[in-house]
């Protein structure tokens, strides 16, 4: 078993209030299912768009965000799976694809050699 971070990118929370609530219900159902199957090792965090970046030896502060809206990370969770292919299968059930976004799957570096 390995851990994988799911980075949610570019979800567009647009649509009417009713559509947003329906989207939310889909996310909750998906998260509940992963939880039930014991796949979530870290429920992660949602991330807002507003950002700053400190760069260079002079530590200059820039206002963000720094990516196109479609590439912004909106949040992440950590799941366990046999391998990266199994992790991809899990990710396929995510409602983000109906919102025009995608999931980036990154193996979490193991601390045990």
């Amino acid at each position: 078993m390995s851990e994988f971070a799911f980075l949610f990118r570019g979800r567009e929370p647009l649509g009417s209030a009713e559509q947003q609530q329906k989207t939310l219900e889909k996310w909750r159902a998906w998260m509940a299912e992963l939880q039930q199957r014991g796949l979530i090792t870290d429920p992660g965090l949602p991330l807002e768009d507003a950002a700053k970046r400190v760069v260079g030896p002079d530590r200059v502060v820039h206002d963000g965000p720094f990516a196109e809206i479609k590439d912004l990370v909106n949040g992440f969770i950590v799941v366990t799976a046999d391998d990266i292919d199994a992790a991809c299968e899990i990710a396929k059930g995510c409602p983000i694809f109906e919102q025009g976004g995608g999931v980036e799957i990154r193996p979490v570096a193991s601390m045990t050699p």
Binding site: A17, Q20, L24, E25, P43, L47
Partner: protein, 434 residues
């Protein structure tokens, strides 16, 4: 933490109404943007971390913080209501002022104020309804357009123009003035009546949108019923009419999505809670000297609700209520409905004579129900050929697939045996349309 059905839709109306009070009516668009943003945040945060203990308070707090940002940034740019200028311009008072403005107690008034503002006499009745759907019920332009069978671009333009009209007012609406409230109340009742009817009989093909329209109209009417100045007998009668009609909704469309005639409906599927609520409201409405069209329509619906089955319906009482309605609000559509009731009371020949005697019946030439009624009456009188012609006409005027299938079934019944024919009462439930 479970989420109430339509919570977002409801809270959207609250947020926009309260924010518009803060930003001023000239910034309605800004209020909508801030509300929208609060929901985007909610969607992002709640989908990963679950719904908070008090989702309403969460949304309101998020909107408040965003409003604070906007006000601080726009200090010099008149991004607020003129009457609040003094408190909002000072850093010491701005936050407590927002807290006061967003108190739960203020929300009811904000919603009422927005509802009355949407029914501005400078706007057409249809536009008033569309505006309420968008601002108070959180309908997207697409959903609003679908409700009216209108094109997205046309609806967008219509809503944009309506908001531009509202923005020319210095104030949204003075909800504290009982005189203003009483003066505009009939327009608000009328708009809610139209919203409900658009859902119940309207042209939109999508049944879910239509059920939503009825539900939203009832929710907004409940706001009127909870305000002592607005809970007049006419409002109570309007509420009664909505409850009694909505009670039949579960039986009105079958599992295949086809309309079910009143005569064929399974009355055990009628919502008895709504029937009881409707009858209680109608009783309340019976006080006072004024008799409104809403009273009469509710009374007709009550007769149906009280009838054990279609056969035992008191058609004599219904005809006499239509006589009253013709005196109160004469229109060719009311006259047509009266004729249909006469057919059920005393046969198709009498009904056809009534229709022929209608002076302004040419105004119904674009109305499918008119031709369907003629078709049914002619068929019952033994004139199958004439009936077919009328049904074909109704079919060509049908406004959505559900109606089209309904009239097609009627047309087909003319060609086959009479046994499959449901009779005139089949279209009875399509009766009201203003």
């Amino acid at each position: 933490m479970p989420l109430d059905d339509h919570l977002f839709r409801r809270e959207y109306g609250r947020l926009v109404s309260s924010l518009t009070r803060i930003f001023g009516v000239h910034n309605l668009g800004l209020a909508e943007d801030v509300a929208q943003e609060a929901f985007c945040r909610a969607l992002e945060a709640w989908s990963l971390r679950g719904v908070p203990e008090n989702p309403r308070a969460w949304l309101m707090a998020t909107a408040k913080n965003r409003a604070l940002d906007v006000i601080r940034r726009q200090r010099t740019a008149a991004g607020h209501a003129p009457e609040l200028e003094r408190v909002l311009l000072s850093e010491q008072t701005v936050e407590p002022a927002l807290d006061d403005l967003l108190l739960p107690g203020a929300l009811k008034d904000d919603l009422l104020r927005m509802m009355f503002a949407c029914c501005d006499p400078r706007l057409s009745e249809g536009t008033q309804v569309a505006l309420m759907l968008q601002i108070l019920c959180g309908f997207s332009v697409g959903e609003t357009a679908a409700a009216f069978m209108s094109h997205h671009a046309a609806m967008e333009k219509r809503l944009g123009r309506a908001k531009a009209v509202l923005a020319t007012s210095r104030h949204l609406f003075d909800i504290a003035s009982s005189l203003q409230v009483v003066r505009r109340l009939p327009a608000v009742q009328r708009a809610l009546y139209l919203m409900f009817n658009e859902g119940y009989h309207g042209a939109s093909a999508e049944t879910s949108i239509r059920a939503d329209l009825c539900q939203e109209a009832m929710r907004l009417t409940a706001l009127l019923l909870n305000d002592t100045r607005c809970a007049t007998p006419a409002t109570q009668a309007l509420g009664a009419m909505m409850c009694l009609h909505a009670a039949r909704l579960p039986a009105r469309v079958d599992d295949a999505g086809d309309l079910v005639a009143l005569s064929e409906q399974d009355r055990t599927r009628w919502d008895q809670t709504l029937v009881v609520d409707g009858l209680a409201l109608l009783e309340l409405a019976a006080t006072g000297p004024s008799l409104s069209g809403y009273h009469v329509e509710a009374a007709i619906a009550a007769i149906h609700a009280n009838a054990a089955d279609f056969e035992s319906t008191d058609w004599t009482a219904i005809v006499s209520l239509y006589d009253t309605l013709m005196r109160l609000q004469p229109s060719p559509i009311v006259a047509l409905n009266r004729a249909v009731a006469i057919a059920l009371r005393s046969g198709p020949a009498n009904a056809l004579a009534e229709i022929r005697a209608m002076r302004d019946r040419d105004r119904l030439s674009g109305y499918p129900f008119y031709f369907a009624a003629l078709g049914e009456l002619e068929y019952q009188s033994g004139n199958a050929e004439l009936a077919r012609t009328h049904f074909r006409q109704a079919l060509s005027l049908a406004r959505n697939p559900m109606e089209r299938r309904f009239y097609a079934r009627r047309l087909a019944a003319c060609d086959t045996d009479a046994a499959s024919f449901q009779g005139l009462e089949g279209i009875w439930d399509r009766a009201f349309e203003a």
